[in-house]
Symmetry: C2
Subunit: 261 residues, 2 copies
DNA sequence: AGACTAAGTTTCAAATAGTGAAACCAAAGG
DNA sequence: CCTTTGGTTTCACTATTTGAAACTTAGTCT
């Protein structure tokens, strides 16, 4: 099942193949990929060859398997440093982590899904690549809902169309309608909850990071467990979280116009 | 100056453009890119549009600037986790860092350049994305030379052709001949030195990570400063480093054949 | 051995997708 | 109001991509 929506030309196909390899999570054979895609043999072959030539994939000559190439890692370094809020937000996350003592997530929107770009773990030390870069669903996470709530109508529609609405827990908002109502509530309240909607026992309070023009840049959340705290206690932190989010937004915006000479 | 060697079709061009944006390190205008590339206006425009559609670039509607997209971060997460030695090597690096108390680098080869995929800093805590993903020259770094020394002839030739041989310090091996002689010595010795060849005051001892079949998988190094230690003292660590490198290789190989049922 | 089969690679005419000069549009600037 | 600069669209031309089918290996079975 190819399952891709938009598909502009050869480049789109090539990137689709890249994703396919990424999804596998381990070196894949040509035939495995062939079975999953509905590209004809020759086409897929050439696509893989091109990507390998370009260093986006690497072909292990011994086993004949493809894996993601190192060029991606190099690009990602740049991507993370420039496109994401992470490097700007870093000191603020440290600050928030210190203040709350809880797990902090910084996320951005990626094609209707939540992409975690940085994290502070209450217990463990920072594990960047291993943690950041992960994706999760939007409709049932605090950061996801916080961002959805402030998306412009057309983008929201696109994002909603991509949600699976799988019922992870009894509390999951598993329909478009329920979610829309909740988004309304979030806008009224100014922050989003995750009331064990994704994982049992996990709760969080999330706020969007908005540009001056109201564009959604990302979201910030403080996560904890029902064993350790309550929604109300988390809610008490909301003003602090909002404040940090505002500061991150401000820092990001001022950083965007560094030229004046 | 486009400066790209191989260029297979549209995909190659698109990736070239991606690199271009990455190289800039900050959001770029269409016209800036146009000035640097020798693609015609319309072509570049369509390329950018496609990449943006695909989420590989993001176009800030307010400022009209392109930056690397979040999809890259997602891909990179997978790339780092699957294609690089880093996740496998992690515990071994921790071990080596503890034993030596010095800075540790784990690197792989990327188109003739050294790509650092993980690092342990003597002083600071782990800063993954910020440090890993960086690239450096091969001909004047310990890890670079360690890998070059064990490359098969054809790959070596390609890699050598990509070296700039810029004289960073008085000790830099700034010619193909000098480097080839050194590679010979490295093979005889079993490990590579960096005798302040890249940066004054910085020395290191590096060993290659080789597969059972002798394929170069990466390199591992212990770095220090002339102020703190000497080459000889570092050399005393060589057996330890080699041992760790061997263990990483073994771990990587056993991981590659997880199927047996 | 010889005869199958599976996996990967190459060919080649047809068709599609990419190209880029030039025209166009919009917003600044004089 | 006219011009410039920066960005987007057109459209005839062409190069690139396409994919069915033929071809190679390298195993496997008898």
């Amino acid at each position: 099942m190819g399952a891709e929506g938009h598909q502009d030309g050869t480049v789109g196909k090539a990137l689709d193949v890249l994703d396919m390899v990424a999804r596998h999570g381990r070196p894949v054979r040509f035939s495995d990929l062939l079975a999953q895609s509905d590209y004809p043999k020759a086409t897929l072959f050439r696509l893989l060859q091109t990507l390998a030539n370009q260093g986006m994939l690497s072909l292990d000559p011994d086993t004949g398997t493809y894996s993601l190439g190192v060029r991606l890692v190099r690009l990602a370094h740049a991507a993370w440093a420039q496109s994401s809020l992470a490097p700007i937000a870093r000191p603020y996350l440290d600050d928030l982590a210190a203040k709350t003592g809880e797990t902090i997530h910084l996320a951005q929107m990626d094609l209707g899904q939540v992409l975690y770009v940085d994290k502070r773990n209450a217990a463990k030390p920072v594990e960047m690549f291993a943690q950041a870069g992960k994706v999760g669903p939007a409709y049932c996470t605090g950061v996801g809902k916080a961002m959805l709530a402030y998306l412009p109508p057309d983008v929201l529609a696109d994002a909603l169309a991509r949600q699976s609405f799988h019922r992870h827990t009894p509390h999951t908002l598993a329909s478009r309608e329920a979610l829309l109502a909740e988004l309304q509530a979030i806008r009224a309240r100014g922050h989003a909850w995750d009331q064990e909607e994704h994982e049992a026992g996990i709760i969080c309070c999330a706020v969007p990071i908005l540009s001056r023009q109201g564009r959604v840049m990302g979201a910030l959340s403080v996560t904890s467990t029902t064993a350790r705290t309550t929604l109300d206690a988390l809610g008490a932190q909301a003003p602090t979280i909002k404040d940090i989010a505002a500061r991150i937004a401000a820092a990001a915006e001022s950083w965007r116009f560094p030229e004046q000479a």
